[in-house]
Amino acid sequence: MSEARTTPALRWALGEAAAGWLLAAPAATALFLLLLGPSLALIALSFTDWELGAPGLRWIGLDNYAELLDDRTFLTALRNTLVYVGVVMPISIALGLGIALLVEGGTRLRAAFRAIYFLPVVSLLVAMATAWQYLLHPTIGPVNRLLGMLGIAPINWLGSSDWVMTSLCAIGVWENIGYVVVLFMAGLTAIPSELHAAAEVDGARSPWARFRLVTWPLLGPTTLFVVTIIAIRCLRVFDTVAALTRGGPNNASEVLLHVMYKEGFSYFRIGYSAAITAVFLAVVLALMLLQNRLLDRRVHYA
């Protein structure tokens, strides 16, 4: 009957599919339990008015999202986060690439330079924030004293709404640059030196021409990776804000994750906080899609 009709080929295909599912099952289960499940729960929560500690919750549809559009704090945070990504990502990638080229071009102390630039990445940022707080202190901080010697009036780096984002961006660059340097140095060592020699023979006399024609295209995969990683690191900026400014003064340094934390765990509005997180996820996804569309096509995988 039915068994008689199944051909050996089909049975073999089914068996292979089953084996495939079986082999993928542990990873798939973990993926669902740790990533997809919570994300779905989060999106479901964002349609409710649940408050931490409240006995019940109500389905309120898109109300949370509608409120977001009206929420000055959230809009400031969204703008600040995008500014932060727009400033910190290009600067740290450009500077990081420059430093990596210089270190790689030099002959001595490569490991030492790599270690020095990588130090900020391995240090605990919350502890480093305290050091920054002292460095940038308006009256007793060394930065302002140095500027004072040059005749520049003291700047209230973290306390004034004009300067606070600039200061946070500068700390962001300091924090990310070492990471970029190390990644680019790894990418540079993978480029065979014969290619540079060949390019020189073929008429690429200036170092700039060799960089443009050989190094830069071959760094494509590394660059894509660096852009992706640094964009995500910038988007999730939180610890410097939480440790140094708490979003102040008057929300001037508010960022997405800090607003999410405040709404959820200071104001107890978990539903609203979930809606902010959903927006955050959407921004991350959009950015990743854009990068892959734009960059992946041009990347030359050797």
Binding site: G53, Q133, H137, T139, S160, S161, T245, N250, F265, Y267
Partner: protein, 422 residues
């Protein structure tokens, strides 16, 4: 030296076996507290002395919360997820939120025992600090009010008299302006307006104002008292040369001897004494009086809240609360922090704090201000923390000189009104 013999070893083993049985007959009390920077040493000492006096009860402290906001969050989370402590110390302005979620156990039955609360030092004003929604939600442990800290070295250099420190805001602002004019990176004053609405309420109460109307349906700080209070903040910037510093930055300046005047809670005393550098000569003074007849000050601090529903554990929890808020517990707390005791027996009796206040004048101003202290106002509904934020954000605009007091106050009133329960 103890000689190791077979009998001793056997005895040791038997003793070790008996230990868990003994522990089982006792109770392990889980107690949660906030702000370890202020309270860690005090809490350890309270627990040690309490366990000596009550051998059947063991006190265990899980990780403390960094501030009152985190403290109330922790407990609310545990109320949902399980793992509530038996006793928790909660900010006086957060008790209302807990009571509205029906978490605290009413302490009235225990207070009525043993000759009544008044006889044991918990007077009516003390009880009032922890009374919400018709129940005794908590019993005040540490109470504070705002005081003014001076660095006398800077006061002298600016031509001030250390024995005649300002008693009015006019004099204080003038002194602050003179200290700021000394140069070399000195600043005049910092009024701790950031963080929460407490110091703003100190000015508002000082003019005799109040946060909300009697029926709690509308804001009451939008009137003349509120305007006077926020104008005073504006004058601190204009006449006192106050910079828009974060609280941490201001404290660092003060420790380093670069800030002349710091106005904030009396609770800082012990940590100030630990942190100030050699160039600081510390003196505390009462807050300048604004309206001698109607002026009041807010009470900060925290209260012990009973959370366990288990009757056997409740007895042990009460014993701990009674010890911590009793004369001995309050003596430990006052000496280790800077807070004012919330037990009337402790400061009067010689064996507790009688001599301490004579010998430690830094602690006196807060004690002397107790008669004009009233509770820290807790906003109704679920938006309490956001209301606080709205007030602080609008104060920031004035301190940064980005809005006039009139505009900032109008926005503040509007923002807060939107957040009140309808």
């Amino acid at each position: 030296m103890i000689k190791t013999s077979r009998r001793a070893t056997l005895g040791l083993a038997l003793g070790a076996m008996a230990q868990p049985a003994l522990a089982q007959s006792g109770i392990e009390l889980v107690v949660h507290y906030p702000m370890p920077a202020f309270f860690k040493d005090v809490m350890e000492k309270v627990a040690t002395e309490f366990m000596e006096a009550n051998p059947g009860i063991r006190v265990r402290y899980p990780a403390p919360s960094p501030n009152y906001e985190d403290g109330v969050q922790t407990v609310l989370r545990q109320a949902v997820a399980g793992g509530l402590p038996d006793v928790s110390f909660q900010g006086l302005n957060r008790l209302r939120a807990l009571t509205e979620r029906r978490l605290p156990v009413d302490l009235s039955p225990w207070l009525a025992r043993d000759g009544g609360a008044d006889a044991r030092g918990w007077s009516a004003p003390v009880r009032g600090l922890g009374h919400f929604g018709g129940i005794q939600a908590g019993l005040a442990f540490a109470a504070s009010n705002p005081v003014v800290y001076y660095n006398l070295n800077l006061v002298r250099r600016a031509g001030g008299d250390p024995d005649k420190l300002p008693t009015s805001w006019d004099d204080l602002l003038a002194l602050s302006g003179r200290i700021a004019a000394l140069g070399e990176g000195t600043s005049g004053m910092h009024f701790r307006w950031g963080g929460d609405d407490w110091m703003f309420s100190a000015l508002l109460y000082g003019y005799g104002g109040r946060m909300l109307t009697e029926d709690e349906k509308d804001v009451a700080f939008g009137g003349p008292e509120g305007l006077a209070a926020i104008r005073l903040v504006d004058r601190m910037v204009k006449e006192g040369s106050m910079q828009p510093l974060t609280v941490d930055a201001a404290l660092q300046s003060f420790y380093a001897g670069k800030l002349g005047i710091f106005a904030g809670t009396t609770a800082y005393i012990a940590s100030m004494l630990r942190s100030i550098g050699p160039s600081v000569e510390l003196r505390t003074a009462k807050m300048p009086v604004i309206n001698a007849a109607r002026g009041r000050l807010p009470t900060g601090g925290n209260a012990a809240v009973m959370l366990t529903r288990d009757t056997a554990r409740q007895e042990a929890a009460w014993k701990f609360i009674a010890f911590a808020t009793g004369p001995r517990g309050q003596t430990i707390m006052t000496q280790g922090t800077g807070y004012v005791p919330s037990n009337t027996i402790a400061p009067t009796e010689e064996r507790y704090l009688g001599g301490f206040y004579r010998e430690n004048p830094l602690f006196r101003p807060a004690m002397e201000q107790l008669p004009i202290s009233q509770p820290w106002y807790a906003f109704p509904g679920t938006n309490g923390v956001r209301v606080t934020e709205a007030i602080v954000n609008n104060l920031a605009r004035v301190v940064e000189q980005r809005a006039t007091p009139e505009v900032a106050l109008a926005d503040m009133a509007q923002d807060v009104k939107r957040l009140l329960p309808r």
